[in-house]
């Protein structure tokens, strides 16, 4: 009889420990490419170095490719480009990109202060803490 009580209780307690885990993803940078011609050179440079590795048409990172593909960006129409800018600004302001999991394996992928402000300025955003 005691066992009947034990099972549901153990089940409930077990639920408390339930957590979603994510697999870390290891990335490699593909070679350089040519980005949108109307993009300022300094922005292009940062994107090339810090974003394009995952966000390109050949990317093995399916999620990154689906969310933003720089190769498709330049040929997409204005409304789509602006929408992408809006979303870029959002993830940058929240500090969600590059992803933490990615930086664990590749700390040099982190955006420097300067690079971050370059991207934010381009995408119309403000820096989180300062000014």
């Amino acid at each position: 009889m005691k066992k009947l009580l034990f099972l549901p209780v153990a089940g409930m307690i077990g639920l408390l420990f339930f957590q979603a885990t994510q697999k870390p993803e290891v990335e490699t940078y593909p070679e350089l490419h040519s980005l949108a011609p109307d993009m300022p050179a300094n922005v292009k440079a940062v994107v090339d170095q810090k974003c394009y590795g995952c966000h390109n048409a050949e990317s093995k990172n399916e999620k990154g490719k689906a969310k933003l593909d720089w190769d498709a960006f330049e040929s997409s129409k204005k409304s789509k480009q602006l929408a992408a800018k809006g979303k870029i600004r959002e993830v940058l302001e929240k500090g969600e990109m590059p992803p933490k999991k990615f930086l664990e394996n590749k700390p040099e992928g982190k955006l420097s202060e300067e690079e971050l402000s370059t991207l934010l300025e381009w995408s119309g955003g403000k820096k989180k803490s300062t000014d």
Binding site: M1, G86, K87
Partner: protein, 156 residues
């Protein structure tokens, strides 16, 4: 005590205990002057679709079903609505700036097209919110047109 006393009693007691866990459903506010519907960018047809398929979570005016008030389902409802509003709240549409509006429309486009939204668990409980292919198409085309309009109207 007979065996069936436990079989019946234990789950009942557990459910009752669960009700004591604090849980706050996101508040309902029916007066939303900055709502998408009323901003002039959405037709009545699409507005109705959005109301039935999206507004329970992505607006300040959900109509909570009875199980939204009973744990453990209330936890899921509260979490989903809270997160949904954070991601996109049609009631606060006018507060978003142009780039945000475009970003959200772009997400609406792909989420609906790929059938990721409305969530499966929501449409099981709300079969009327399940979008037919034509309805999906209506929302997707609206989203794209609205993006073009917004992108052109506020030239920077």
């Amino acid at each position: 005590m007979k065996r069936w006393h436990y079989l019946l009693g234990i789950p009942v007691v557990l459910i009752l205990v669960l009700q004591l866990v604090p849980n706050e459903l996101p508040t309902v506010e029916n007066n939303n002057p900055g709502d998408l519907i009323g901003s002039g960018i959405v037709s009545d047809e699409v507005a109705n679709l959005l109301k039935t398929a999206c507004y329970d979570c992505h607006s300040n005016e959900p109509s909570y079903p009875w199980y939204a008030h009973v744990a453990p389902s209330s936890w899921l409802v509260a979490k989903d609505v809270r997160e949904a509003r954070q991601e996109l709240n049609f009631s606060n549409w006018e507060d978003y700036d142009m780039l945000d509006q475009l970003g959200k429309l772009d997400d609406i486009y792909s989420e609906v097209e790929e059938g990721k939204m409305p969530l499966g668990i929501y449409t099981i409980m709300h079969p009327s919110a399940k979008l037919s292919e034509e309805q999906k198409q209506a929302i997707v085309s609206w989203a794209e047109e609205a993006m073009d309009i917004i992108a052109e109207s506020e030239d920077e």
